[in-house]
């Protein structure tokens, strides 16, 4: 009987360790933004349609870490309907590759304060059917049960085989700045 109780206690303790999967909180003001800057024309595209999960154990973001996030490129809005359409149809080809995806893990967590950590993430970015290994840095702000994730980084369109349109009315930079600011919360 004593052993049985001990088993139960161990089981309970071990189950408690695992419940650390967090999903994107869609009730919050999530932001995925790209910024294209050229001397002739600069513009931004935004969407709040980001989804995915982050997993860790024992309150250590890098402990057995797994994460996956995807942004819906079909929902990107640059403020001009026609520019959206051409961007999606001719360059991002969203009918074929509707998501920008990142799959990876937190490899390092550096505490900046009681609630804020700087994290280094390793993984693969998938855009336009092309996968590229990438290391990112960002911050995670813990206000349990909510976590705010912020990161900014630059990608090259040619790395993802996205042709930069050269003709006439659209000027897109070869280097695109991506800004992500979103929230995750514990899975219910």
């Amino acid at each position: 009987m004593k052993n049985f109780i001990l088993i139960l206690i161990f089981l309970f303790a071990s189950l408690n360790l695992q419940a650390q999967e967090h999903f994107v909180d869609k009730q919050k003001n999530n932001l995925v933004k790209f910024i294209s800057k050229t001397p002739i024309e600069s513009f931004e595209g935004v969407t709040n349609q980001i989804d995915g999960y982050m997993y860790w154990e024992n309150d250590d973001l890098s402990n057995r870490s797994l994460l996956y996030f995807e942004a819906n490129l079909d929902a990107l809005d640059t403020g001009i309907g026609l520019r959206n359409r051409h961007m999606k149809e001719n360059y991002l080809e969203t009918f074929r590759y509707p998501y920008a995806q990142f799959n990876g893990k937190v490899v390092n967590e550096e505490k900046l304060s009681d609630i804020k950590s700087k994290v280094t993430v390793e993984g693969e970015m998938f855009i336009h059917g092309v996968a590229k290994k990438i290391n990112l840095q960002g911050t995670v702000e813990k206000n349990k049960p909510s976590y705010r994730i912020q990161t900014e980084f630059t990608i090259k369109l040619s790395d993802f085989k996205i042709e930069v349109p050269s003709l006439m009315f659209m000027r897109i930079s070869e280097e695109i700045r991506l800004v992500l600011d979103f929230f995750i919360k514990e899975k219910k």
Binding site: Q18, I50, D74, N90, L167, K187
Partner: protein, 280 residues
């Protein structure tokens, strides 16, 4: 021994259950955008089933040079004279386009509304169906006996437009059209029923070639069925340049539907162009 056994069981449970990710994509992170099969709202003279996005304006300037391209002293027909059409379209919703246009033949002014009724999302043959209805008024009818708004000067048309696209390369469409009062010069009221069809091959994100045929099935036809071919340049910014060779030199729907005045193969076709630009 029992302690190790318990420890092993717990460890096993952790190993199995940890990182067992339950996240799944939900419909909230998918967007069903409007199907886009053809790039432009019209092919040559016949409309495509496309409508523009809410708030878009489109301006059109089209010419059809009346001399044939091999007519001497007319520089491939470009010296004119020419039929000219101007139009302005507006999309009050993503699925509706209103167009007001004017051609220089008889001062023909037309007002049309196009509405996309159906979209079929299919991996092999995505398709869509739109209807377009409109009225035309010839404001420069060369007779003192008729006033501008005389009912004889009005024409009415209705078109069903079915489009499909294979492999994002071959666009096909059929456009049955009914036109009431086909010949405004006649005291008798004629109608025309045509069954138009077209194909457009998208060679790249900018260039495509087009073929369009609009045979009269029943009712009034001036002489011949219009046959047109051409190529299109899509500049990527809502600017379409269409260069056209056709036996029809008509532009407005109520003129084009009632037939062409010459044969395509026995005489030389005429040259023409459509220029359209989306304005924001």
């Amino acid at each position: 021994m029992k302690f190790f056994l318990m420890f092993f069981i717990c460890f096993l449970i952790i190993e199995i259950s940890a990182q067992d990710i339950t996240w799944k994509r939900t419909s909230e992170n998918t967007t069903l955008t409007e199907l886009r099969l053809f790039r432009s709202t019209q092919v040559i003279n016949l409309p495509s089933a496309e409508t523009y996005e809410k708030g878009d304006f489109e301006y059109e300037i089209s010419h059809r040079f009346i001399p044939a391209i091999d007519e001497k002293g007319k520089f491939f027909g470009l010296d004119g004279p020419a039929n000219i059409r101007f139009s302005l379209s507006y999309a009050p919703t993503d699925r509706m386009t209103l167009t007001l246009g004017r051609g220089n033949i008889d001062g023909n002014v037309d007002l049309a509304i196009k509405y996309k009724l159906l979209q079929i999302r299919n991996d092999v043959l995505p398709s869509q169906f739109s209807v377009r209805v409109g009225t035309a008024l010839s404001t420069n009818f060369p007779s003192q006996e008729r006033k501008i708004f005389d009912s004889d000067n009005f024409q009415f048309f209705a078109q069903g437009i079915f489009n499909t696209l294979y492999e994002r390369t071959l666009g096909l469409g059929v456009v049955p059209t009914y036109l009431y009062n086909s010949n405004i010069y006649s005291a008798e009221r004629f109608y025309s029923f045509t069954f138009g069809s077209y194909a457009q091959i998208f060679l790249s994100d900018k260039w495509s070639v087009m073929l369009e045929w609009n045979p009269t099935v029943t009712g009034y036809r001036s002489k011949f069925n219009p046959l047109s071919l051409g190529f299109e340049l899509d500049t990527g910014g809502g600017h379409f340049f269409k260069f056209i060779f056709s036996n029809s030199v008509d532009l407005n729907t109520s003129h084009f539907i009632n037939g062409a005045s010459k044969q395509f193969f026995k005489t030389s076709p005429s040259f023409g162009f459509n220029l359209t630009r989306i304005l924001k």
